[in-house]
């Protein structure tokens, strides 16, 4: 079982995200970086599948050289191979990213064989373009479903569950396939201290890939206007209960 997970290095912000002076990026002066949460779950899912099906997990990212940190993190929780497509400057647009990933995946597969599963996050935590995985799947002519919160593998088919209101839908997808993973599919493990130390020694292959820019371009990032609202304090402690229930009545939710 060969599994590829595509991850993105994103800032780990607090309760307010600041923008760099030129408006082109998040101001990361105070921030650490992480793997986009859906993708962290995708890595965990891949590792679990690999553990169960004697597989190999490759993790691929397109990002700055520092994204090696996220690749090593993946290794520290069980990924086997790490690949970096280095870029400089601001993020690539979704078309360009998808094109580069497609090229890289095709090259790897030409050398080492097809990936049975290629996992993406449902969408990145930062840009939220909702499309890179689907574009790659289309280019590779593979089936793809987004929003996956459960995978069972049997006989060359991935049975993939997608959460809907009040339950889930099931897709039976023939492999090789591409799935967009959502947080909640699992609770990702933390790296062990030994895992962290071992990941330091893992090899990261970096290969530059060229791709042309797409038709969507960033003008600037900015923070939405904050709604400043006065908070009405209904009271302190259990004595506030009548005031709360008055409010509930007023809002008509107490019927």
């Amino acid at each position: 079982m060969r599994i590829l997970v595509c991850v993105k290095r994103v800032p780990a912000p607090g309760s307010r995200i600041n923008v760099s002076d030129d408006g082109q990026a998040v101001d990361t002066a105070h921030l650490g970086f992480t793997t986009s949460p859906h993708e962290e779950c995708a890595v965990e899912e891949a590792v679990q599948i690999a553990e169960k099906h004697d597989g190999e997990v490759t993790v691929l990212t397109l990002g700055p050289a520092e994204a090696e940190e996220q690749l090593r993190y993946a290794a520290s929780v069980g990924a086997h191979k790490l690949l970096l497509i280095p870029i400089t400057g601001v993020d690539w647009d979704p078309q360009r990213t998808a094109s580069a990933l497609t090229t890289a995946i095709s090259d790897i597969e030409a050398a080492d064989g097809t990936f049975d599963l290629v996992l993406f996050g449902n969408e990145s935590a930062d840009a939220g373009g909702f499309q890179v995985g689907i574009r790659v799947a289309h280019a590779l002519e593979r089936p793809v479903v987004n929003g996956i919160k459960g995978i069972d593998l049997a006989d060359g088919t991935a049975s993939a569950r997608r959460e809907i209101d009040g339950g889930f839908e099931v897709y039976e997808v023939p492999m090789p396939a591409v799935l967009g993973i959502k947080e909640g599919i699992n609770l990702p493990r933390y790296p062990t201290m030994k895992g962290r130390l071992a990941s330091k020694k893992a090899e990261v292959s970096a290969t530059a890939v060229e791709a042309v820019a797409g038709g969507q371009a960033r003008v600037r990032l900015h923070r939405p206007l904050e709604q400043v609202s006065e908070t009405v304090i209904l009271g302190t402690g259990p004595e506030a209960a009548p005031a709360v229930v008055d409010l509930l009545e007023e809002l008509g939710v107490l019927s």
Binding site: P13, G14, S15, I17, V19, V26, H38, D93, P94, A98, E123, A125, A127, F130, Q131, I134, R135, H138, A139, P143, V144, V145, N146, G147, R161, E163, G166, G167, F168, E169, V170, V173, K182, E183, G184, G215, Q216, A217, R218, V219, L221, H222, P224, S229, T231, V232, I233, L234, G235, T236, G237, P238, A240, A241, V244, V245, L247, L248, L251, V253
Partner: protein, 323 residues
């Protein structure tokens, strides 16, 4: 020359979010000087047509095919692509729901065009300019779009669905795409219903708990209150990470977006992750020992106190009033 809007439905029940897309799209189409058209795809689509004209669809395409038994991202994407090409649409749009964004990504991939997801404002022109959300709404991006066919989604809840000033004609046109079996590799095969009735994303009352609840058992008090109000439980990411509640209860950027009449947020500090999932609530009541917590500052109403004492008191008061 038209803006083609995907109107989503679930086996014949129109998704309300589609009306938001129509509301947004008819204005956009008017400013762009193009027609506003809607499309409904698949089995059962014909029962979902009624409100489309009153919300501004000048033409409604009803796309059907023997293979279109249920929702399928690839089949829907392929269908929409073919329709857009066949009517010469200059733009394709949907509401930025899970499905809407998914189908549009397929369309864009097939058209080899850009796709701009989750816009809140679009100015048409030779080059379209738009404002879209990033970070689940914590940040906005001004962007430009150069494309032969513009593929865009409008952020869910960015506009409220309203009737058009004058109902559009809404003439019905049937469309049958050419689909091969590979287009239906990814069609819903089965559905499993876990919750009957109201759910986290639709409930008018959500009682949310955060780290301050302290334990899995601590949620019993919240459940009592939710029960008394006919609402459901929500929680923060910290709670899910601690294993106190399932991820399906998680409200937030990577969990469920809620929009209840009232969100009672107990022991929740109000980190951005959580806030973006809760900010569409019409009213928020924060219960926190810390009067200076973020959630308290952002909420319309607050009670300062220990949730373990305040919540049972509210439940009791409700029961008392009901006699």
């Amino acid at each position: 020359m038209s803006l083609l809007i995907l109107c989503d439905h679930d086996r014949g029940t129109l998704d309300e979010a589609s009306l938001e897309a129509l509301t947004f799209g008819r204005e956009l189409a008017a400013r762009a000087g193009i027609a506003c058209e809607a499309v409904v795809i698949g089995a059962g689509a014909d029962t979902a047509l009624a409100p489309l004209a009153t919300h501004g669809a000048q033409r409604v395409h009803l796309a059907g095919h023997d293979l279109l038994t249920d929702y399928g991202p690839e089949a829907w994407g392929e269908t929409l692509t073919q329709l857009a090409r066949s009517i010469g649409a200059t733009a394709v749009m949907a509401c930025g729901t899970d499905r809407g964004n998914e189908v549009l990504a397929h369309v864009a991939a097939r058209l080899d065009e850009p796709f701009v997801a989750n816009c809140i404002d679009i100015t048409p022109g030779d080059t379209w300019t738009m404002t879209r959300v990033q970070w689940g709404g914590s940040l906005l991006e001004d962007a430009t779009l150069d494309a032969g066919i513009r593929v865009v989604s409008v952020t869910h809840h960015a506009v409220e669905a309203t009737l058009a000033d004058t109902p559009a004609e809404g003439s019905l046109v049937h469309f049958t795409p050419e689909l091969g079996v590979e287009a239906v590799r990814t069609v819903v095969k089965d559905r499993v219903v876990l919750t009957q009735g109201i759910t986290l994303s639709t409930s008018p009352v959500v009682v949310g708990g955060g780290r301050g609840v302290g334990s899995e058992d601590g949620f019993a008090k919240l459940e009592d209150l939710a029960g008394a109000l006919g609402g459901v439980i929500g929680c923060s990411r910290a709670v899910t990470n601690n294993g106190w509640r399932p991820h399906s209860d998680q409200v937030g950027q990577t969990g469920t977006r809620i929009a209840p009449d009232i969100y009672i947020a107990a022991g929740i500090s109000g980190a951005i992750q959580h806030w973006v999932g809760a900010m569409a609530a019409k009213n928020i009541l924060a219960i926190n020992t810390d009067g200076e917590a973020n959630m308290v500052a952002k909420a319309g109403f607050a009670v300062i106190g220990d949730l373990h004492k305040v919540i049972p008191a509210i439940t009791e008061e409700i029961i008392r009033r009901r006699g």
